[in-house]
Symmetry: C2
Subunit: 297 residues, 2 copies
Amino acid sequence: MATITALNKLVIVGVGLIGGSFALALRKAGLVKHITGVGRSQANMQRAIELGVIDEIATDIASALNGADLVFLAMPVGQTASTLEKIAPHLHANTLVTDAGSTKQDVIAAARHHLSMQNRHHFVPGHPIAGAEHSGVQAAQADLYAHKHVILTPLPETSMAAVERVQQLWQACHAQVSLMPPDEHDRVLAATSHLPHILAFTLMNHLNHSTDDPESLLRFAGSGFRDFTRIASSSPEMWRDICLANREALLTQIEAYQTELNSLRELLKKNDADALEQAFSQARDIREGWLKKKTKD
Amino acid sequence: MATITALNKLVIVGVGLIGGSFALALRKAGLVKHITGVGRSQANMQRAIELGVIDEIATDIASALNGADLVFLAMPVGQTASTLEKIAPHLHANTLVTDAGSTKQDVIAAARHHLSMQNRHHFVPGHPIAGAEHSGVQAAQADLYAHKHVILTPLPETSMAAVERVQQLWQACHAQVSLMPPDEHDRVLAATSHLPHILAFTLMNHLNHSTDDPESLLRFAGSGFRDFTRIASSSPEMWRDICLANREALLTQIEAYQTELNSLRELLKKNDADALEQAFSQARDIREGWLKKKTKD
């Protein structure tokens, strides 16, 4: 790999798990000289300074963006449009912008609306697939992205050089970078991430509504339950935004899942032992095949 | 705690993860002198010998049961009736019998059908909540039950002494023992274990059916997906049996879950951001409350 030039100034908007870990990883790789943080909560920004994640808390957007090589948007995806609107007037012609939103078509629509063509040449929409149910800058870690996938969904007007630069920086965080059309990204993630979150949140609410005493009901829940529901501890605000941003694809997924669940319920109603075993067996085979492939990646 | 007398002879029917781990835990506690294994697969039984899990492979049921203090039934729960039928003619009057089935009403019905009143005095239905997606004797470990719940659901005719003896042995495996009526057990487990398994199996089948190329779809699935679907790698045969044995309670759970999922889908359809965030927030609170309580247990 060619030598990568260090960033003179990185601006991180939303210094939580995702933004903070990107900062720490680039610092560890020696690829950033100065990091400015932009955020809503002064306490959180103070914590980011104390943890050495950022060097400076932005006082205003204009001076934060002054001289920035790269702006990394890592606030909840629902704030993308308003954030782009706020930064657009102060964005220099050659400053790269990338983001970490879990949905991409809405981010691109917002960029089309708020960024000039010149700025869009330098805009590289991205999605690091490295969430965790813990959030906040205190959960940030330099190796969060190691061996994780990062998907970039460039616009037709994004320059090759911009894509390559963002790709190099992610690779320096030891992530595995792929390019994908934004609509495909949103469909794939609706299936493998957004739908499971909906199912896990729904299970917790179902259990809560199914009894007067959820505490007793849950007393004997074991490690299978703990792992199944881990994603139900994710940030409600973040997931509200993701679901709304990817509403159509997610609704399609939920409906198809409901059809599948109905079929399985019918097999159970009919006491169809062979078909049940076959359905479970197929489910297990698909998962085991995936795990094996994943380990090799 | 009073000193516990060691078992002279323990018979384990079904020497897999559950039976094997019970054997290893009691050995480690110095509470068993001789262990005889009964099983379908000669290769598996041979492996159990090599691993030091059992001392002897049963050649026939009559001699296996001869002089046994305790019989532990740990084969898939669907084989309970046929197993009880097979052992009943050879069961001594004072041999304790307990099991590890994930459902209890069907096990009790089978015991009522196949065991004499004398043998039922010594029958203690049980359920250690310590599954894992790995199965087989090679996965057995002496500390599988440490800090795990074991639920006992005695029959009205089960003697107090039998319950106490089985309870002591589980406690010697460092498990936390609770008593519960069998119908309550089956309702609770339908909600917190059987339903999540159904949902996880269904997700894998849905993904498989939603595309011609499940491998590409799954390529970017992350750690949230891995944990959510962990239980979809469970034994198809075992889960077929559990679902059929607890069919009524499970169908009730599936239907109520579907209602809850419909409500959430409607909120998404209506773009109701506040209600979505509240639903996710409530789900997270219930889970976090459970986790906190569990850690204290």
